[in-house]
Symmetry: D2
Subunit: 374 residues, 4 copies
């Protein structure tokens, strides 16, 4: 089957050139669920483009009766981010225009002045499908209302315009998968929301971070949070529903890298997930082991206690015990005649999941992160 | 009187050099209130250093019995920010290390898991002074508790370390004044919190923004917000108190500029404010007119509807009517053979309070802001 | 008359989007000279786009018999440069990829291993027109030879590819005009090459810098230098020729600004120049005064002797005497308890022609420039 | 033996803080030669700091009679460069103030308006030692003359001030070693000047680039070039002398990395070189194989022929034949519905010596470099 291909304009540049995003849509013969998969929201996190390329190639090889519903794929979803450079470094993590983290700009319906309690009262006795449809309608109406309010003279900031484009393509999806990588050097893992732990295993990854603490307005969170709020309020009203709506962020390896192992894992995991969700008629791979989920608020981050040069830093994936030497700092402090070396020990037991790719630090720069008891 | 002078180390750099902040403290013979004044939290917003220089010079000329309490002055309060360059541009608005806006990193006691209701119950019958003292003690204890929890091996991010230093110097103040300027080209104005409108006029500025909407974790807000929360809860418990605690952000002119008019206004306003607060034994200037306060959520921002070159943009301070032409965009869109000029009309009546200093824009970049009915 | 309009692709971006430059060509009914005019080679120097817009509008209003030869106009000639941002600052003075100054990358035929002495021997007895034609042929052949050598697998750096595109459009011109502005805040002036002083006045500007010292590989210089080398060698062989080939860089006002006065001056000067060169059948304006040419190696630059805040800096256009106070630095040096103010006096008599737009400096940053005896 | 330790101030910052460089001097009991070794001129090239640390530790363990002459060591020789960040990337390759490549700013005596022919005439009959002493005196006098001409009001740009400091410490050395690394990912190699090939082997590295083509004003080149010019002119006057003056740039591994293997190689090579030069009384290691020197103008660089994502790129150190696939580009060009993969074959036989560390490219970005026949 061949996808529908659409180019959506996202920005005219000062020069008069235009940036666009490509949208590949595979439409199954039957089924009405929707999966939305994007890659490269942060400029340096490019690996997902290769995953999407493999997905397109694979889906091209299927017949349309092997796909249920609609699968939307957006590689290179942030041209501004991926094209940005300082020397050869990919520095497109933040908007150059307003400093916003590209993954903290999204609209969360539940942050609007809306009365979800009222919605619950009115819908409590309807079927799960009806409630899901009605709530989606409310979300889309409110979203449209906000679009309609944009004054053509005032315009909108690029961050807002851009988020509106991505969310207009994804708000009505059932499954949202946002493929990132670490910005530094990292193992593969995913972000999992509370009440969606059961599906995490389908991605066949060893580790996940359980989102028990939100930064706010991330793409996955802005999509799923309203549904989680609704589920909670329904539950308080003694109606326990888990809607067929999920959001995932995959972290596949390191920034500025296309690690082919990570590409394979990402591809395999997504295919398996879509099969589990009955959007692909493929045999499901039963995970050999459960994805170990680490509560976000328990993750330990290490920062340089002083400026200098890092030596002998342990690598991502290393299991460590309390007291193990994680790294050394060699400093030529101007207050000391002799250069000094400080050994930094681990205050934690666990697994190192990511490490900074720069071996020189100013005080307070990031060194590495640990999944405790990982 | 001469101030106490102290240097506080804030960061050792990779090179082994050290950044410090200077703290000037003028201690009056009597009085126990504290005013804390800092400048240059954002790298480009340098004007406040000149204001503080004028304040130091002026306070030097007073006797210690002309000052009541303690006045703490920190110019160049963010060395990392002010030293940062891209070409000759001051780009230090965000931390280069983690992308955080330097003025969105501060700790807000009321965001902690603390039971203010319980505090209200226990303190409701005490005097205003006692309540203020007890609440301050709780804030400082919680702050210290967080400092104590920092593991020396894990360290802390520079953003967190830096905020801890500034807040350790200011959390126990009565009056906090954070001198900024616009990052672009701007008139002089201030930010005023709800329930503090009465004091705004003492600064003798024409305009202010009324903070009816928070971004979160700004320096002024993180300082005052816990007190506003407490006041609200006391009020709900039928005890109406306005504590002798205030926070102000002054916006004195434009980024990368020391406008001497703005320096004079800032100096005069602060002296007058401190006199009004009885920290200086000087004659109070009665404001000729009240500071016009514009609710933050009513401010109108204009963004470029397409990329190109800005011509004939109106200047900050211009009064405008709906339909007035605010600016033109000259575009050489690659989709059009002939270059185009678009006239952008105002959708609002009011006063232009700031305008971008760059006459070229990509779509969605900031153009200007309007105080409606200003 | 309407121009021919052509879009030339200059770069495919990581995202798959494409940057192009627009080429407007006005072809007169008769005449075979060529003028080539471009704008915005440095990202922040946008004013020339407005000048070219005014030129297009004006030429549109002429009949094709009012134009002799070919006038080629390229606004927004460097999309990479003009679109680049750090916050709202236009930082596109250097290539983000290799750090090259966009105006130091151009190919200079005379730097090739070519035997111009031999050319002189063979052509010494030909007419001026024949020599000019033969030398141009040699330049274009060598240029083509270099293009032909590019291996498709090895590719070329973007700097090289880009210069090839601009030079393929301009090497065969008679008159090259490259419209810049100062990157800081500046009066209007031009750059004039030796032996071309006579034509400078036609641009009707008060000041010019006489290029008696080259940086190397600037656009204007790379174009004209081979001709100047040839003229010198012919002169040594007792044949004095000034070829009908000229190159000019106009500096119209300040960076990031479209100063409408500068636009008018630039437009008027170029029209007058083209009239003087008989490419436009318009009445020539006789300059009221000659352009004062300042030898490049006599210009005086002032740099901050220490870090701090600049106050009371004189403005561009100010006439100054030796000993005049140019500016003050307010410093909060950590080695001094009291802040210090240093007055910097002028070591020169002349006119201030540009000043930095940032009022804060690290030691060694640029403050202002003086045309001595200007 | 313990070194003399000196801190030299290089810049006061806007904030009032100061940057310094540390100078470690080991003075042997006897001998009058001088070796000057610095590290980290480019911000990302940090490995040399670890090499210098190992050298300091080693020299500390020697007695002063084991050292002949003076060994000067400057780690962290460019604080501005090493401290600079964009996110966690070390972007300090160019001065943020003027865009100059930190290693293209140095003063070359032979570029001055000096008459070396005259020097040759006057010195031709003196001994090698006398000529060397006289020429050094001329260099130092001219250098001092330039310093004396600096007007305190005009000041100098930071680039010039900084170069003056480093060159005042090194111009009178016999041996200059500047420890860099590649800015990307690279094997270890060195830069060798013509007529100094014999000494290259002492560094015990497999590869070197023979400097048959100069960029101009690099640290090593600015130091050695005047001597090479003198040697050439003496040779033309039939006096063949190789002065006891050498300059080396070592490239030890990759940017932002302290590869411990590279540290060991660098340390071992420098110790061996100093032994060969009789500055250390240690047994000389005879190189097992000669350093293979690749003429600079034969090196092949590969640049992306279009924008996209790099996959399957060969690694540094790989031997390749003509026709081998070097890498693939995956592109989502907006002009093509289906994503495309291009295989790039090698046009050269040799060894890949460095590769870019970013797997995403805009057209014209660097991919890798090949030492042909390496």
């Amino acid at each position: 089957m061949t996808p529908d291909y659409q180019l959506i304009e996202i920005q005219t540049l000062a020069s008069g050139d235009t940036l666009q995003i490509p949208v590949y849509t595979f439409q199954g013969k039957t089924g009405n669920k929707k999966a939305y998969i994007q890659a490269n929201l942060h400029g340096a996190e490019i690996v997902g483009n290769a995953v999407i390329y493999e997905l397109i190639t694979f889906l091209n090889s299927l017949n349309s009766d092997e796909v249920q519903g609609e699968i939307v794929l957006i590689p290179m979803c942030n041209p501004t981010g991926v094209n940005q450079r300082n020397l050869f470094f990919s520095t497109g993590r933040y908007s150059p225009y307003d400093g916003n983290n590209w993954n903290r700009i999204f609209w969360d319906y539940s942050h609007e002045n809306v009365n979800i309690d009222d919605f619950v009262r009115k819908n409590i006795n309807l079927s799960k499908q009806e409630i899901q449809a009605n709530f989606l309608k409310d979300i889309l109406n409110k979203f449209q209302e906000k679009l309609d309010k944009i004054n053509p003279y005032r315009g909108v900031s690029f961050s807002e315009d851009y988020r509106n484009i991505l969310q207009s393509l994804s708000l009505n999806a059932n499954y949202v998968i946002d493929i990132h990588s670490s910005s530094v050097s990292s193992i593969d893992y995913l972000y999992c929301f509370d009440y969606r732990q059961k599906s995490a295993d389908y991605f066949l990854l060893d580790y996940g971070i359980l989102m028990n603490k939100y930064d706010g307005n991330a793409f996955d969170e802005a999509f799923l949070n309203p549904w989680l709020v609704l589920e909670k309020k329904l539950s308080q009203a003694r109606r326990n529903i888990t809607f067929d709506v999920e959001a995932w962020t995959l972290e596949l390896g390191s920034g500025m890298k296309v690690n082919e192992e990570s590409v394979k894992k990402g591809f395999k995991g997504i295919i398996n997930y879509l099969s589990a969700k009955k959007m692909l008629n493929l045999e499901l791979i039963t995970p050999e082991q459960k994805t170990k989920l680490i509560p976000k608020n328990t993750i330990k981050s290490y920062y340089a206690p002083q400026g200098g040069i890092i030596r002998h830093r342990l690598k991502e994936g290393t299991k460590i015990q309390r007291g193990d030497v994680l790294y050394n700092i060699l400093s030529f402090l101007k207050t000391s005649i002799t250069p000094t070396i400080i050994e930094i020990e681990s205050a934690d037991e666990g697994i190192i999941y990511d490490v900074s790719t720069n071996d020189t630090v100013n005080q307070g720069e990031y060194i590495l992160g640990i999944f405790p008891h990982g």
